[in-house]
C-alpha cells in the first residue's frame, strides 16, 4: 500500500469562505457533510413529531393535541423521516464515501451535486411550513391516498410541491452516483472489486431513477385532480382511487429497498473490519442485492390486499413477497458467516452493525407474516404494521446509519469517536427502541388501529410502555450529537489514516481527516 506524501496533500479549498463556501461548494465531502447535517436536523424534527404523537397516545382519550393535528403529525412524521432524514442521510454517506472508495476525485457532476442538495432545504421548509397555513399540513397519511388528498387544503399542495422538489433532488443525486460509479472508477477498480457499499448504492440509484418519476407522476395527477379538473383518482368524475394506490406502491415498495440496500452496504463494510476476515460471499452479496431490487418491482400490491383483489393476484403478490426472503437470507447468512471464527471485537460501529442484524431480522420476519394475505387482511392498518416497518426503518436504516457514522467519523473529523459514550448511545437506543416498538406487535394483533389519536382501554398499558420507550429513545439520540460535536471540535483521540485496525479499502489510504481533495490523480488498484 502506498505511503501518503505529506508535501502533496491538498488540504484546502479554493473560492469563497464562510457561508458562501457552503452555498457554492462543489466538493463531494462538503456536500456530503451538508446532507448529513440536514438529515439529522430533519430527523430531530420528525422525532419531535413522533414524540408528540406518543405523548398523545400515552393514555386513552384526547390530552395533548386535537385529532386534526394528530393526523397531520402522523403524515408529516412519515414524509419527513422518509424524504428528509433517511434518504438524504444515505446520499450524504454516498457523497462522502463513494468517490474515496473508488478512487475518484469527486462526483461526476459536481455542480449538479450542489444543486441536488440545495433543493432540499426549500422542500423541507414547504413541508414543515405547511403546519402554519390555513387548514394546516396534509393529514392524508404519508401515502397521500385519495379521496382524502384530493379534499385537503393548501397544506396538501405544499406537500405535493415538496415531494416534486425532493424527487428531482433524489433523481439528480441518483444519476450522479450511477455515472460516478460507472465512469469514474480508478484504473484496476473493476466492478467486482468495488466495496459492497458502492454496489448497494449503484443498485439503489437505479431503483431511484426508476421509481421516483412514478411517484412524481402520481402526485402530479393528484395536483391536476385537485386544481385542473382531471379525474384520475376522483371517483365523482369517473376516476379510481385504488389506481393511485397501485401507482403509489409501485414506487413505495422499491422505496423501502432504497432505504435499506445502502444499509446493507454499510454493514457489509463494517463486519469484515471487526471480524478481521474478508466478507464471506462477496459475489453472492452483489447478486442478492440485485435480486432484491428486481423483486421489489413485483410485490407492490401486498400493501393492498384489503382493497379487494382476485385470489390469483393475492397469491402472486404473496409468494413474490415471500421470495424476497431468499436473497435477504443470503445476506444475513453471509454476515454471520463473515463473523464465524473471526477475531471479533465490539467497538461502537460493530455493536451497531450486529445490533442491526438482530433487530432488522426481526423486522424481516414480521414482514413475512404481513406478506401472508389472510393474515395481512387481519393486521392491515394496525399497530402490527407500524411495529414491522419501524423494525425495518429504525433498526434497519437508522442503526446502519449510526454504524456507518461511528465507523467513518474518524475519516470525516480526524478524531476517534468516544467509545464509552458511543456504547452508551447504542445500548440505550437498542433497549428503548425495543421498549417502544415491541409492544406494538401485541397492540396490532389485538386490533389497535394506526393513525387514530384515541384507543380502547385494553390497549392502555402497552401504549404507556411504548411512550416511555419513545421518549427514552428520543433522548438517547442527543448522545450521538454530543459524540459528533466532540469529534468535530477536535476532541478525543487522534485518528490514523487507517483508523480501525483491519479496515480495508481506498478510503483508509488517505489521511484522517480526509484532505479536501483526494485522488486528484487516480490511484492504480491492482
Amino acid at each position: 500500500m502506498a505511503a501518503v506524501i505529506p508535501d502533496q496533500l491538498h488540504d484546502h479549498h479554493h473560492g469563497p469562505t464562510g457561508l458562501m463556501r457552503w452555498i457554492t461548494t462543489t466538493n463531494h465531502k462538503d456536500i456530503g457533510t451538508m446532507y448529513m447535517i440536514f438529515s439529522f436536523i430533519m430527523f430531530l424534527a420528525g422525532g419531535v413529531m413522533a414524540l408528540t404523537i406518543r405523548a398523545e397516545l400515552f393514555q386513552p382519550g384526547l390530552q395533548v393535541v386535537e385529532p386534526e393535528l394528530f393526523n397531520q403529525l402522523t403524515t408529516l412524521h412519515g414524509l419527513v423521516m422518509v424524504f428528509g432524514a433517511i434518504m438524504p442521510a444515505f446520499v450524504g454517506f454516498a457523497n462522502w464515501m463513494i468517490p474515496m472508495m473508488i478512487g475518484a476525485s469527486d462526483m461526476a457532476f459536481a455542480r449538479m451535486n450542489n444543486w441536488s442538495f440545495w433543493l432540499l432545504p426549500p422542500a423541507a421548509i414547504l413541508l414543515v411550513g405547511s403546519f402554519f397555513v390555513p387548514g394546516g399540513a396534509t393529514a392524508a397519511g404519508w401515502t397521500l391516498y385519495p379521496p382524502l388528498s384530493i379534499q385537503m387544503g393548501m397544506g396538501m399542495d405544499m406537500a405535493i410541491f415538496a415531494i416534486h422538489i425532493m424527487g428531482i433532488s433524489s433523481i439528480m443525486g441518483a444519476i450522479n452516483i450511477v455515472v460516478t460509479i460507472l465512469n469514474m472508477r480508478a484504473p484496476g477498480m473493476t466492478m467486482m472489486k468495488m466495496p459492497l457499499f458502492c454496489w448497494t448504492w449503484l443498485i439503489t440509484a437505479y431503483l431511484l431513477i426508476a421509481v421516483m418519476p412514478v411517484l412524481a407522476g402520481a402526485v402530479t395527477m393528484l395536483l391536476t385532480d385537485r386544481h385542473f379538473g382531471t379525474s384520475f383518482f376522483n371517483a365523482a368524475g369517473g376516476g379510481d382511487p385504488v389506481l393511485y394506490q397501485h401507482i403509489f406502491w409501485f414506487f413505495g415498495h422499491p422505496e423501502v429497498y432504497i432505504m435499506i440496500l445502502p444499509a446493507f452496504g454499510i454493514v457489509s463494510q463494517i463486519i469484515p473490519t471487526f471480524a478481521r476476515k474478508p466478507l464471506f460471499g462477496y459475489a453472492s452479496m452483489v447478486y442478492a442485492t440485485s435480486s432484491i431490487a428486481i423483486l421489489s418491482f413485483v410485490v407492490w400490491a401486498h400493501h393492498m390486499f384489503t382493497t379487494g383483489m382476485p385470489v390469483a393476484g393475492q397469491l402472486f403478490f404473496m409468494y413474490a413477497t415471500m421470495l424476497i426472503a431468499v436473497p435477504t437470507g443470503v445476506k444475513v447468512f453471509n454476515w454471520i458467516a463473515t463473523m464465524w471464527r473471526g477475531s471479533m471485537t465490539f467497538e461502537t460501529p460493530m455493536l451497531w452493525a450486529t445490533g442491526f442484524i438482530f433487530v432488522f431480522t426481526m423486522g424481516g420476519f414480521t414482514g413475512l407474516i404481513c406478506a401472508i394475505a389472510p393474515i395481512d387482511i387481519q393486521i392491515h392498518d394496525t399497530y402490527y404494521v407500524v411495529a414491522h416497518f419501524h423494525y425495518v426503518l429504525v433498526a434497519g436504516s437508522l442503526f446502519s446509519l449510526y454504524a456507518g457514522a461511528y465507523y467513518w467519523l474518524p475519516k470525516w473529523t480526524g478524531r476517534m469517536p468516544d467509545e464509552r459514550i458511543g456504547k452508551l448511545h447504542f445500548w440505550s437506543s437498542l433497549i428503548f427502541f425495543n421498549i417502544t416498538f415491541f409492544p406494538m406487535h401485541f397492540l396490532g394483533l389485538a386490533g389497535m388501529p394506526r393513525r387514530v389519536p384515541d384507543y380502547a382501554l385494553q390497549f392502555a398499558d402497552f401504549n404507556m410502555l411504548a411512550t416511555i420507550g419513545a421518549f427514552g429513545f428520543g433522548l438517547s439520540q442527543l448522545i450521538f450529537l454530543w459524540v459528533v460535536i466532540k469529534a468535530a471540535r477536535g476532541g478525543g483521540e487522534k485518528a490514523a489514516a487507517r483508523s480501525w485496525e483491519d479496515a480495508e479499502g481506498l478510503e483508509w489510504t488517505v489521511p484522517s481527516p480526509a484532505p479536501h481533495h483526494t485522488f486528484e490523480e487516480a490511484p492504480v488498484v491492482k
Partner: protein, 79 residues
Amino acid sequence: MNGVSASVANVNAAIAHPEIDDTTPEGAQHSGGGGPTLPEAGRMTDPRRKRNIRTGLFFGAIAVAFYLVVIIKYKVFGS
C-alpha cells in the same frame, strides 16, 4: 475448491487488499497532490466528461420518460 468458490475467494482477496501501485506516478500521488484543482478538473480537462454527460443524459431521459408515461398512460387510456 471448485471454480466458482475459487473465483469468489479471489474477489474477496482483492477486496480485502486493494493494493495501490506506488511505483507509478498515479499511485504515488493517490492521496491528492499535484493535480489540477477541482474547478479546473471539472471544467474541460477531464477526458471522461463527455462520457459522463452522455451517461447522465441517458438516465435523465429514462427518468423523464417514466414520469410522462405514467401520466400519459392514464390520461389516454384511463384507469
